[in-house]
Amino acid sequence: MNFDFSDDQKLLRDQARKFLQDKCDRKSVRNILEDNQKNYDADLWSQISELGWTGTAIPEEYGGLGLGMLELCVIAEELGRALAPTPFSSSIYIFAEFLKSYGTDEQKKKYLSHIASGKKIGTFALSETNGKPKPNNIKTQHASDKLNGSKNPVSDGESADYIIVAANSDSNSNYNSLSLFIIDRNDPGVNIANLDTIDPTRPACTVDLKNVACERLGDEGSGWEMIDNIFNRAAVLFSFEQVGGAQVSLDEAKKYSLERFAFGKQIGAFQALKHKMADMYVKIELARSNAYYGAWALSTDSNELPIAAAGARVSASEAYNYASQENIQIHGGVGFTWEYDCHLFYRRSKLLSLNIGGIRQWKENLISNLEKRNIV
C-alpha cells in the first residue's frame, strides 16, 4: 500500500508553496480582483511558465517537462491555496488535456509547445445558456468549415489565444452530433465581450462566432464523449485546487478564532466554534482522500476514472463551499467586509464548484457511473 505522493512530489509541493507565498500574496490577488482591465496576473503567469509548471504533464516531444499527472495534482493544490489569478486551469487542465488525448500529431506539435511554454493560452467554450449544457441547448453550428453561434460563459476567453469550441455538425442536434473545433481568437469573426463573474480573479466572457475558420479536434460526432473524459480528468485537478483552498479557509478561521476575544476568552474556546471547525476538518479530510483516489485513477489511466473523478469533484466542491462559508461565519462582522480576505475564498469556492458543471450534475454522474459499473 502506497497511497501517498512520492518524496520528489512532496518536494515539488514545498517548492511551489514557497514560490507562491512569495510571488502570489493576497495583495497580488486583490490587484486582479480590483482592476477591471486585468484578467490575470501576467507576471505570475510568465514566472510559473518559466518554472515549467504549465508544461508539467505535457510530453517532452511537445515541449513539456514530461512529468506525470500526480505532479500536476500537487501544483493544482498549491495554486488553489494561493488563489492564483491565472488561466492555468483553462489552458492546462482542459485545453492541453483535450489536445493530449484527441489531437493529431500535427495538432499537438502546433499547439502544445506554445501552451507548455505559457506563451499562448487556450480555453474551452461549451455553455450557451442557463442550466446544464445538453444537445437541445447547444446551437452553435459547424457548416462549410465555418462556425456560427454564441458561447456564454467562456472561462478565460479574453486571455485565450486558442479556443476549443463545441458545435453541432448537424441541424438535428443530439448526443451524436456534437463535434469539437479549434479556433484562433484573432479570427475576424470572433467577438469577445467581458462578463462579470462571482470571482473576478477568475474571469469569463461571451464569445460570438460569425463564419469563423476552424479545425476539427477528434472524431466527428464524438464531442460529448470527449467532453466527459476531459472533464473527468480536469475534475481531479480541480479537486486538488479546491482542497488547497478549503484547507487555507480552515487555517484562517482557526487563526482568527485564537486572536479574537469575546466574553473574556478566545472565541476558538467556545464549543460551538470548535465543533464547526472540527466539521470543516472532517469534510476536508474526506475530500483530500477522495482527491487522492482521483489522482491514482488519473495517473494510472484506470477505468475507475469516471467514478473516482466524480467522487473527488463532489467531495472537494462541498468541502470548499462549506469551509469558505463557515470561515466567514467564524470571522463574524469583519468576515463580510471587502477588507478581510474571507470573501476571496467564498468567491473562488463557488466559482470552482460550477466551472465544469455543478455539484448536482456531478452527483448524477457519480451514480450513473456506479450503475454502469454494476451492470458490467
Binding site: 466554534l273 472540527a278 472532517v282 479530510e285 474526506l286 483516489y293 467522487g311 448524477e364
Partner: protein, 427 residues
C-alpha cells in the same frame, strides 16, 4: 501511488489467507444479507448478544473460543504482542492485513478484543511479572475472557468522574459501587477496574487500578436491554467486594495514568466499518418503488446516495492513507479520528432515509420483511447507539478541535478542587 503490498506484506497476507481458507467459512458476497438470525452483520460491531437465549449464547461463545484457540495456535491471536507472551511480534500493518482478511470470514473475535487489544497491553506495561505469566497466555487463547470495568452511571464522557469506592482494609481492598456499559461482564472470567481510593484528592489523582476475578462474592452483572432489543452491555454491581492488595495494578493513586494506557491501546480502527453503508442503500434502491418508479432512478434519491458514497469511500481512502504511513513504519496522522464520527451519523441517515423510501412497509420490523431482512430497521436502532458508544459525536468533535486543530481546551471547574467538593448534582 499504488495499492500493492510490499513483498513482506504480500508474504504475510498469503500466510493469513491460507490459514483462514483452511480453518474458517467465507462470507458470501452478499454481506448485506446476513445469514441466520436478525441483523448479525450489524450486531457484530459490538459484543455478542445475550437476549437470544442462554443456549444460543453458549454455543456462540464455545464456537468463538474454539476459533480463538486455532488463531492462537497459528500465532495470529495477538499480532502486536511480543512472542514471550504468545503474540506474533508483528507490526501494525500486519495487524491491519490480518483484520482485512478475517473480515471476509464468518468468525467471531469480539469476545477477546478488549482483553487482547486493551487490557493485556495494560498488564504488560504496569503489571507484576507473575501476573503476566499467569494471565496473558490464557487471554490470547481465549481460555479466559476479560472485561473492562470503567464507565459508571455518573462517569460517561467524563470518565475520570468515577465514584466506585475502593477502601483499604489491611492487606485487602473493599469495593463498593456500580459500573455500567461493560461488554461481556456476564461471561467474563476477569475484569480490570478503576476505582476511587481517595475522594479527598484531586479528581485525577485519587484513583487506583485493579484486576478482579468476576466470580468474587459481591459482584453481580445485569444485562442492559438496548433500544435495539439486544443486550450487548451490562451494569455491574459491587457490594462489599473484597480483593487482595496483590491485585492492584500500578501504585495507589496512579489509576488514571494506568487507565490511559488501556484507552490508548484502543484497537486500530482500520478494519471495515460495520454493516450499513452506501452499498446497502444502493442495492435496496433497485428494489424499492417510489412515486415515479424504482428509487434508484429518482433524482432526489440519487443525490442523497452520492453524498453517502463520498463519505463512505472518503473514509476508506483515508484508511489507505493511514495504512501507507504504517507500511512505511510511520505513525499515521490524525485522519482516522474522523472515522466513527462520520460512520455513525451516516448509518443513521442511511437507515432513516431507507425506511422512508420503503414507505408503510418501513414500519415492519420482523423477519418476513422482504427488503434486505431488516437491515435498515436494525441500523436505525444500532446507529443511535453508535453515535454515543466509544466517544459521543460531541466528545469526538472536541478531540478533533483540541488535539488535531490545537484549539483551546474547554474551561473546566473540576481540575482544582478535591473530588468530594466538586459540584455533582446528586448527593
Amino acid at each position: 501511488m499504488d495499492f500493492n503490498d510490499t513483498p513482506q506484506e504480500a508474504e504475510f497476507r498469503k500466510k493469513v489467507r491460507s490459514f483462514l481458507e483452511a480453518n474458517a467459512e467465507k462470507r458470501s458476497t452478499l454481506a448485506t444479507k446476513p445469514k441466520g438470525d436478525s441483523g448479525s452483520s450489524i450486531s457484530s460491531a459490538g459484543a455478542p448478544e445475550t437476549v437470544k437465549g442462554d443456549y444460543a449464547a453458549k454455543v456462540a461463545l464455545d464456537n468463538a473460543k474454539e476459533w480463538q484457540r486455532k488463531k492462537a495456535d497459528a500465532g495470529f491471536a495477538a499480532i502486536l504482542w511480543p512472542k514471550e507472551f504468545g503474540g506474533y511480534g508483528g507490526t501494525p500493518i500486519e495487524q491491519v492485513i490480518y483484520a482485512q482478511e478475517e473480515h471476509d470470514y464468518f468468525v467471531h473475535s469480539g469476545y477477546f478484543e478488549i482483553g487482547i487489544g486493551m487490557l493485556g497491553p495494560t498488564m504488560m506495561a504496569w503489571g507484576k511479572d507473575e501476573d503476566k505469566k499467569r494471565f496473558l497466555p490464557k487471554m490470547i487463547t481465549g481460555e479466559e475472557i476479560w472485561c473492562q470495568l470503567f464507565s459508571e452511571p455518573s462517569a460517561g464522557s467524563d470518565l475520570a468522574g468515577i465514584r466506585m469506592k475502593a477502601e483499604k482494609n489491611g492487606d485487602e481492598w473493599v469495593l463498593n459501587g456500580q459500573k455500567v456499559w461493560t461488554s461481556g461482564a456476564h461471561f467474563a472470567d476477569y475484569g480490570m477496574i478503576v476505582a476511587r481510593s481517595d475522594p479527598t484528592a484531586l479528581k485525577h489523582k485519587g484513583l487506583t487500578y485493579f484486576y478482579v476475578d468476576m466470580k468474587t462474592p459481591g459482584i453481580e452483572a445485569k444485562p442492559i436491554k438496548q433500544i435495539s432489543g439486544s443486550a450487548n452491555f451490562n451494569e455491574v454491581f459491587f457490594n462489599d467486594v473484597r480483593i487482595p492488595d496483590s491485585q492492584r495494578i500500578g501504585a495507589e493513586g496512579d489509576g488514571w495514568k494506568v487507565s490511559l494506557t488501556t484507552l490508548m491501546n484502543e484497537r486500530l480502527a482500520v478494519g471495515d466499518p460495520p454493516g450499513l453503508d452506501f452499498d446497502q442503500i444502493f442495492e435496496a434502491s433497485k428494489e424499492i418503488e417510489v412515486e415515479d418508479g424504482l428509487a434508484v432512478k429518482n433524482s432526489e434519491v440519487r443525490q442523497k446516495m452520492a453524498d453517502w458514497y463520498i463519505q463512505s469511500r472518503g473514509l476508506q481512502y483515508t484508511k489507505y492513507r493511514s495504512m501507507t504511513a504504517l507500511s512505511k513504519g510511520q505513525t499515521p496522522g490524525p485522519e482516522l479520528s474522523i472515522s466513527k464520527l462520520v460512520t455513525a451519523s451516516k448509518m443513521q441517515d442511511v437507515s432513516s432515509y431507507a425506511l422512508d423510501l420503503m414507505d408503510m412497509s418501513g414500519m415492519v420490523h420482523q423477519d418476513q420483511n422482504p427488503i434486505l431482512k431488516n437491515l435498515f430497521q436494525n441500523g436505525y436502532f444500532f446507529s443511535a447507539a453508535m453515535r454515543i458508544a466509544g466517544g459521543t459525536d460531541e466528545v469526538l468533535r472536541n478531540i478533533i478541535a483540541e488535539r488535531v486543530l490545537g484549539l483551546p481546551q474547554d474551561e473546566r471547574s473540576d481540575k482544582k478542587l478535591p473530588f468530594n467538593e466538586l459540584p455533582s448534582g446528586k448527593n
